[in-house]
Symmetry: C2
Subunit: 325 residues, 2 copies
Amino acid sequence: MKIKHYLLTLFLLLTTQVYLSAKALNSWKNGSSKQAIIEFVETAVDPENDGFIPESERIAVFDNDGTLWAEKPLYFQALFAFDQIRSMAPEHPEWQTEEPYASILKGDIEGALHDGEEALIKLVLASHSGMTTKGFQDMVGDWLASATHPTTGRAYTEMVYQPMLELLDYLRANNFKTFIVSGGGIDFMRVFSEAVYGIPPEQVIGSRVRADYTLVDGEPVFHRKAELGFINDKAGKPVGILEHIGRRPVMAFGNSDGDFQMLEWVTAGEGPRLGLLVHHTDEKREWAYDRESHVGSLNRGLDEAAERDWILVDMKKDWRRVFPR
Amino acid sequence: MKIKHYLLTLFLLLTTQVYLSAKALNSWKNGSSKQAIIEFVETAVDPENDGFIPESERIAVFDNDGTLWAEKPLYFQALFAFDQIRSMAPEHPEWQTEEPYASILKGDIEGALHDGEEALIKLVLASHSGMTTKGFQDMVGDWLASATHPTTGRAYTEMVYQPMLELLDYLRANNFKTFIVSGGGIDFMRVFSEAVYGIPPEQVIGSRVRADYTLVDGEPVFHRKAELGFINDKAGKPVGILEHIGRRPVMAFGNSDGDFQMLEWVTAGEGPRLGLLVHHTDEKREWAYDRESHVGSLNRGLDEAAERDWILVDMKKDWRRVFPR
């Protein structure tokens, strides 16, 4: 009787395990990408395997824009910045003639960003500072609750990739800690990371402006300054990871050359490592872009993925579905 | 039969709970400090209580020097810096005449620190930069494994406070996340935080030098620069917490005015909050110091603890034992 009970339990455990693995990544088509992920995880959690990874070392890092959610026609945080610039304009009459603000107010986004990253930083700093952290996060929350994507009409928080949500869940079910490591603003992403991705604020790493701690009428607040504190992009990503996490992750997920050094550092470590780039190939369900795109451009990663044994996810072929609905 | 079994389980669960609470803080004497901690935690985990705190919000922050381990005769990291200065001296003949190095090499620590914090920062930068992060952490590990405290002869990692180790365990058993938030160097503390305190590197916040990500012979490394990146002290502590954790903790533990703003911010939040200062009153088992001390000086905290409802731990009266052995 006891042995029968034991065998039944064992059987249920084993079948549950297999069922979970197969079901967990349901929006991934069966193929080499899905298989490589499952093999990596099943090896990592098996204490009998040479590729076993102790729980404390099971750290997976994810870029956000283009990896966890969409980034077309432009980074969503930039679209938020433009909306803020428009609503702040009445208090800044000088913006009617001063670039890049004037172009934004005329609705000419291409003109505003003509000079590249510098203009974008200027717009972000103008719209992301001068208030308290709490005030800023309320602004982001309000915007996310009401703004919709210019072509799909969906809420921005619905423009997340279903296969990646399943991947996050699958990794956490196997005791991996999941972190966001993005060029996006840390306080911007923290507003929705827990609700949308299940990633708590303390596991979000991003770019940031400087903030001062002060008392206003006896109440402690953080005042956001129009000054960059850290840019968490390219070679800044490994530095951001080192500052926040303090050790080398074993899995890294990205989609652009901004993620190159993150994948390079993660996969150069000893023992089992996994690097993965999402290649945007699906012009019907999402967008198709890589080398020439002004957001998420992917050149070096595309050239070197194979020789570096990084998984190159073909969205069109590898994903059964892109968005949750 | 089924009901009997259910009642037995319930009985075991309840008695285990009580047993744990009473046993968990065994090195704390029964008294108002211990009682306030236990009451706070038992309220926080009780979903029926108004003071219930959801797991994701259960965040407790701890200063390190003087709160988790000793800091006399001087911050242990400063003693490490002096030892490194001595061992690096042969490559720096100029240090024989240049201050503050010359005083350190003569064994005159008071002379070296005569000009205060600036000299200390100079010594720390000289001894903590110019190598890779890995190289630095190896240096720290070697030092911790061999160096001993000048008066007790113990390893530095044995100069930790047993009551605080029990408190860390007790909080984690109740699903609090425990973080170190210290003026000490982040990469210094991360070498021993997991082994000694059970706090993983991603939950350590500290001061830091700037580091660059580069490739050396194709290998990714972080090169440490002789440049301060962030000082995690006083009003810097709330800023460090905001950057790393992204939300306000509910419990804060410190011992000096360097922790004042951290406790101020934490305890000014809505809902249940606990602030605690360790007051060093035990000249026999440890050291007795506060207002006039050149390390861990406690003035404002001592004056305002009562009106702010912060627990002031009297080491002599509140702790049954100080060190693990």
